[in-house]
């Protein structure tokens, strides 16, 4: 009896959690861009792919496939951000975890402090810096900003995980004559895959989901990333809810899929980072 109640409670919570998602799916499949009235049921009454086809099938004035181009931009920016973020964060986190050196505390503190800077304050100066470096309207500019903004969180998490790996393993490798770089590459890194996977996921998400900077720094339609086009469906006065819903699903699906495939790492990877700060 007690058990049944628990399952029931859990199912209700889960249902409430995914209800908004179900509604969005329903709108996306409705084949229309407007509402007749409020509906509570999450079960789609119409099954139409027209919203999806409209979102996916956009072309620019030259007849090039715009959506494909924007999808490619998003993938490129996100993958590059992940590579930059992870490389930079891994080496730094290892140094912070294993060595005691002058400036270590200050460095770690810097990472924490940087999390508190309000984005509004940085937006204008960042624009100027990008302009000076001639990186406006380029993919590299976005990749650099996203990569670096994801670094503080990544370093904290990876450092926490590296801290939990016993030093004996590395000492054994050093005895065998391995260089510090080699120890890191072939001993520490393979053992830290859960944390690296999670960190990669977060870096990827930072880039994949960001739209304010992307919209501000990019002016060419062909350079847009997907979140920018979603925003375009939600205008000041009219909202194309059907297109918005369909585009939202398209943008969310890859991240949700990544989340699910990495979720067994998620639990262990996050906590190790949390325990030792």
């Amino acid at each position: 009896m007690r058990k049944a109640a628990r399952y029931l409670a859990l199912t209700i919570v889960v249902f409430l959690t995914i209800l908004p998602v179900l509604w969005v799916v329903k709108i996306a499949l409705s084949g229309s861009n407007t509402f007749q009235g409020a509906e509570l049921s999450p079960i789609p009454s119409v099954l139409s792919a027209s919203n999806f086809l409209n979102v996916v099938g956009t072309h620019d004035a030259q007849g090039n496939w715009l959506f494909g181009r924007q999808l490619l931009n998003s993938v490129m920016v996100s993958v590059l951000t992940t590579l930059v973020g992870i490389t930079v964060a891994c080496t730094a986190a290892y140094a912070f975890s294993r060595f005691r050196f002058e400036g270590r505390r200050a460095g770690l503190f810097m990472f924490l402090v940087s999390q508190m800077f309000p984005g509004i304050l940085m937006m204008v100066p960042l624009y100027v810096i990008m302009q000076r470096l001639h990186l406006l309207d380029t993919m590299i500019g976005l990749v650099l900003i996203y990569g670096i903004t994801s670094v503080p969180f990544s370093v904290w998490m990876l450092k926490g995980y590296f801290d939990t790996i016993p030093k004996d393993l590395e000492e054994a490798a050093v005895m065998d004559g391995a260089s510090p770089a080699r120890v890191f590459w072939s001993v520490v890194l393979p053992l830290s895959m859960p944390a690296v996977a999670i960190t990669a996921l977060f870096s990827f998400m930072t880039a994949w989901n960001e739209f304010v900077l992307a919209y501000t720094f990019l002016s060419e339609e062909t350079a847009f990333t997907l979140p920018v086009i979603i925003r375009n469906y939600v205008g000041e006065h009219t909202v194309q809810w059907g297109f918005f819903a369909a585009a939202s699903i398209i943008v969310s699906v890859p991240v949700v899929a990544l989340f699910f495939s990495l979720q067994r790492y998620l639990v262990g990877g996050l906590t190790a980072g949390g325990v030792k700060t």
Binding site: I120, V124, G147
Partner: protein, 389 residues
């Protein structure tokens, strides 16, 4: 004895020298910054426009003004730099010595540090500089801060009201996130529960969805005409509520519900991981000693959860405190900016009042509040960290 004096004088000398160098570089930096301010301010009009568009708002034009080189500002920065250099003289020397001995370590952290300095700290300090300028680009010292902290009758925003709302917003959110997340984690950590993986996967969904999409979806849910929220009220026989209308409470509630939906999975996952790392035998031992369910929770689970939960709570409260997307996109501050939190109020100073100095000053105040909060809670965390030792 005299050797000690000589040494003392030497360090003293070094400090003065460092201070002098600091003053010179600070002055130079201030000068170039003041020159750069023209670029900052010129492009702020452009950015303001694109930004406003990107957030679905009506764009306006910034009035154009000449930048002020601000002698007072240069002196101010030079003095600050001098003090800083004098204070940092010893650590810097040690750092340089360290750098000579172990270049590998510094090479490993250099990319991260360089990137952070260029793309996070430099923009931050440029923003700080703007906080001391008025709308005519003159150096006005602390005037912007005074206007915020000591609001006159003419001012249409009250800092203290917004601060109260922000604190309430942060506390309620974090409490709800932790309570829901922890409760779910406790249920899900039971290995006898069937379909655990499925429940877990589904409960993480809100975290995986981009938060601006979430915010816009919830704005629709709370729509008076088309929103399912009112459809539900109609179903149980209640009158529809104008959620995002003229009432502060319903607007605030709408924001809160949205952010709760958004935020509990993070706490749940953190708690789940921490629960898994608690050794089984501790529970068995406690059970042997006759500890009941509640006693086991308070004496075993909670103390061992704390080291993982505290940092997550600190991080979570910083994120919530600055949760721009939800507040801006769901309630948009309605009614009359009452449901705004500090970060959206800063944005309003930027976009509506067209006062970038004021917006920067607001942002700086937010930063100071968070810095104080973190340093205070950091002590608590340290205390909590000792559980395992």
């Amino acid at each position: 004895m005299s050797a000690v004096f000589a040494l003392a004088r030497k360090t003293e000398m070094r400090r003065w020298a460092a201070g002098l160098i600091g003053a010179l570089t600070g002055g130079a930096a201030a000068f170039s910054l003041a020159m750069d301010a023209r670029a900052v301010i010129d492009s702020s009009a452009v950015i303001e426009q694109t930004l406003a568009q990107s957030l679905g708002a009506v764009a306006g034009n910034l009035p154009h003004h000449d930048p002020a080189t601000g002698i007072g500002f240069m002196v101010f920065v030079a003095m600050a730099c001098a003090v800083l250099c004098a204070l940092l003289c010893r650590p810097t020397a040690r750092l340089l010595a360290n750098l000579r001995d172990r270049p590998m370590i510094y090479a490993a952290i250099a990319p991260a540090m360089a990137g952070m300095v260029l793309l996070i700290f430099v923009p931050f300090f440029m923003g700080v500089y703007l906080a001391f300028l008025d709308n005519d680009r003159n150096f006005v010292g602390l005037a912007n801060f005074m206007e915020i902290l000591f609001p006159q009758g003419t001012s249409d925003t009250n800092f203290y009201f917004t601060l109260g709302v922000t604190v309430m917003w942060t506390v309620l959110n974090v409490v709800l996130h932790v309570a829901i997340g922890l409760a779910l984690a406790l249920v899900l950590s039971d290995s006898k529960l069937r379909g655990r993986a499925w429940y877990r996967v589904l409960l993480i969904v809100p975290w995986a969805v981009p938060n601006y999409i979430t915010a816009l979806v919830w704005k629709w849910i709370f729509n008076t005409q088309y929103g399912p929220a009112n459809a539900f009220l109609a179903l149980i026989g209640l009158n529809p509520v104008d959620w995002l209308g003229r009432s502060f409470l319903t607007n605030f509630a709408a924001n809160l519900v949205t952010n709760t939906w958004l935020g509990f999975p993070f706490m749940m996952v953190v708690a789940l991981g921490a629960l898994q790392s608690i050794p089984r035998d501790l529970y068995e031992a406690a059970e042997m000693d006759g500890a009941g369910r509640w006693a086991r929770f308070t004496n075993v689970t909670m103390p061992l959860l704390k080291p993982a939960l505290f940092p997550a709570i600190i991080l979570g409260s910083i994120w919530t405190f600055n949760m721009f997307n939800v507040v801006y996109l769901v309630s948009g501050g309605a009614p009359d900016n009452q449901s705004n939190i500090l970060i959206t109020e800063a944005y309003r100073a930027f976009r509506v009042l067209k006062n970038f100095g004021m917006a920067a000053a607001y942002s700086l105040i937010i930063f100071v509040i968070l810095a104080v909060y973190t340093s205070l809670t950091n002590r608590l965390t340290r205390a909590a960290e000792n559980v395992f030792e």
